[in-house]
């Protein structure tokens, strides 16, 4: 599925770099994500992938370069403003709110769609209470979509890992994002769960959401993405469709190069 002609990319990274202390974590990185595509960002451990996500979502500010969303610059904006534009993300380490149920966690995703003011909250006005009921309804619908209805009232962090990932995903979906950024969504999942994840990701995209994901699980990456960017040591080393990337010598070197050296020694 390619972007309709005449529309620019939904997300554009334009020569961004960032250093921590003396270490250049991301170096002159550029790529685009077209509307409606599923783009993969891969690379060996420590290549800087999460740092790239953090720069897109406003957690870090790039030292140089620009990030653009639907043509508008969002470089260095605060995370909550980026979320307001319709960019939602999941985390590598799963950041669900501890001590809260699945329902309460996913409800959090609706923050931007909630209208009640602070004084309505304090007074408990009828309008406020009505909105609360609506929020719960919408949340339950999303839970049903992701087959989480049964655990709606369980403490989210007490669930098995694979389910927690689905809860985090549900939390982002309930916000109806335009761009969804997934940080290693398949980490810790077995083969069956990965396959289910592939279907979920595809159906999310079919619902009109553009997706950018970081992943190590090649079953997911190769089967679900439309195009892939490969980075190593913070620099882009290849970009293209899954088949090309698999054959690209620079990519093979980056992932497997160390093994050859060890074998030779």
């Amino acid at each position: 599925m390619t972007a309709p002609a005449g529309e620019g990319p939904l997300l554009e990274l334009d020569r961004i770099s960032i250093s921590f202390g003396g270490l250049r974590a991301v170096d002159d990185l550029s790529f685009r994500v077209a509307q409606g595509e599923i783009k993969g960002l891969i690379g060996p451990n420590g290549a800087g992938k999460t740092t790239v996500f953090n720069m897109i979502t406003g957690v870090y500010r790039p030292d140089v370069g620009a990030v653009r969303f639907a043509g508008e610059p969002i470089t260095g904006q605060a995370p909550h403003l980026i979320a307001r534009r319709g960019i939602m993300r999941t985390f590598q380490t799963i950041r669900l709110f501890t001590g809260m149920t699945v329902l309460e966690n996913v409800l959090a995703g609706q923050h931007l769609r909630t209208r009640q003011s602070w004084w309505q909250s304090l007074l408990g006005t009828p309008g406020q209470r009505r909105e609360e009921a609506e929020l719960v309804e919408r949340t339950l619908d999303t839970l049903k979509r992701l087959e989480l209805s049964e655990v709606a009232h369980e403490v989210a962090t007490s669930l098995p890992y694979g389910m927690q990932r689905r809860v985090e995903l549900a939390r982002t979906l309930v916000a109806s994002p335009r761009l969804l950024i997934l940080d290693e969504p398949a980490a810790g999942l077995n083969d069956r769960e990965s396959a289910a994840l592939n279907d979920t990701i595809t159906s999310i995209r079919d619902g009109g959401v553009t997706i950018l994901l970081v992943e190590h699980d090649m079953n997911v990456v190769m089967n679900v993405t439309d195009s892939i960017v490969v980075i190593n040591f913070g620099k882009k080393i290849a970009e293209g469709g899954p088949a090309e990337i698999q054959r690209d010598p620079a990519v093979i070197e980056a992932y497997l190069g160390q093994d050859d050296e060890e074998n030779a020694a």
Partner: protein
């Protein structure tokens, strides 16, 4: 000019004992990320213990320097032990719990020590007798410096130098610094982190004890709820220098002492405390990690 010099001398003196007390806060915070609210009270406990030794009549009328030394040693050892006991009973059980639980435990310990002092020594202000120290003064330009001031300045410098050497040039000192940077990594490197923590709770309070006794000897009085005022001031000093940073505490103590001495000349005494806390808030807003503190990055 003579006023400035005199204020400078006063400021360095006060800075000396603030630095010693601040070191206790900073060492504990460095390793445990805990503000030991009971620390100030431990230091003042030392003043009371020292006073008891000095007025005990031991060694007869001319015990002089020996009795003075004994007072310091007894106070430092006693308070050092108290620090270790405090760690063991009030903080160690809470290592795995929410940070604030340890804070409340610390506040309880502070209350306990303060009121313990009151119960043992009486709620009244205790005066240090006049003849404990030689009544000598020397001229420095047009200012003067007294024996007690010299004692405090020299004593503080010696102790700070000793601590600096210990922390930077001995193996155990390196272990302390390692534990302050990353406890888990230190543990994995084979460092006995428990031992580090206990020693920090002995050395910190012991140094503060000397500072506390200096306070008592300088102002020639001690009262049971003094701990909070000197504790808070020393804590501010630690923050100015960079909490968790040992040279920072020394620098912060000195700067705070000087700041207080000079501000006293220009601000009415009823607002003086406000100035100190105003300085604290200003530092927190502009550079919360203090002058020498480092930024610690968090991996997200």
């Amino acid at each position: 000019m003579d006023v400035v010099l005199q204020q400078f001398i006063n400021g360095v003196t006060v800075g000396g004992f603030y630095a010693l007390i601040a070191l206790g806060y900073t060492m504990v915070y460095g390793v445990l990320k805990l503000i030991n609210f009971a620390h100030g009270d431990l230091c003042i406990l030392a003043a009371f213990i020292g006073l008891t030794v000095l007025t005990s009549g031991l060694g007869g009328a001319n015990a002089g320097a020996l009795l003075l030394a004994a007072a310091f040693i007894v106070a430092a050892v006693a308070v050092g032990i108290a620090g270790a006991v405090l760690e063991f009973t009030a903080y160690r059980p809470l290592r795995k719990a929410h940070r604030l639980s340890a804070v409340v435990s610390a506040l309880g310990a502070s209350m306990l020590i303060e009121n313990g002092i009151m119960l043992i020594w009486s709620p009244e202000v205790k005066v240090f007798p006049a003849n404990l120290l030689p009544d000598l003064t020397w001229k420095v330009g047009s200012a003067s410096i007294s024996f007690v001031q010299v004692m405090i300045i020299v004593g503080s410098l010696i102790l700070m130098a000793a601590l600096y050497f210990y922390v930077h040039h001995t193996r155990f000192g390196t272990a302390i610094r390692a534990a302050a940077i990353d406890q888990d990594a230190a543990r994995l490197m084979g460092i006995n982190v428990n031992r580090v923590i206990v020693s920090v709770f002995v050395v910190g309070p012991a140094l503060g004890a000397v500072g506390g006794l200096f306070v008592g000897l300088y102002y020639r009085e001690a009262y049971f709820n003094m701990g909070w005022i000197y504790g808070l001031n020393a804590f501010i000093a630690a923050i100015i220098g960079g909490i968790g940073n040992i040279p920072g505490a020394m620098l912060g103590g000195l700067l705070l002492g000087l700041f207080n001495a000079f501000a006293a000349g220009y601000v009415s005494s009823s607002w003086q405390e406000a100035i100190t806390f105003g300085l604290l808030i200003a530092i927190l807003l502009v550079r919360p990690t203090g002058i020498l503190g480092e930024r610690v990055a968090e991996k997200i």
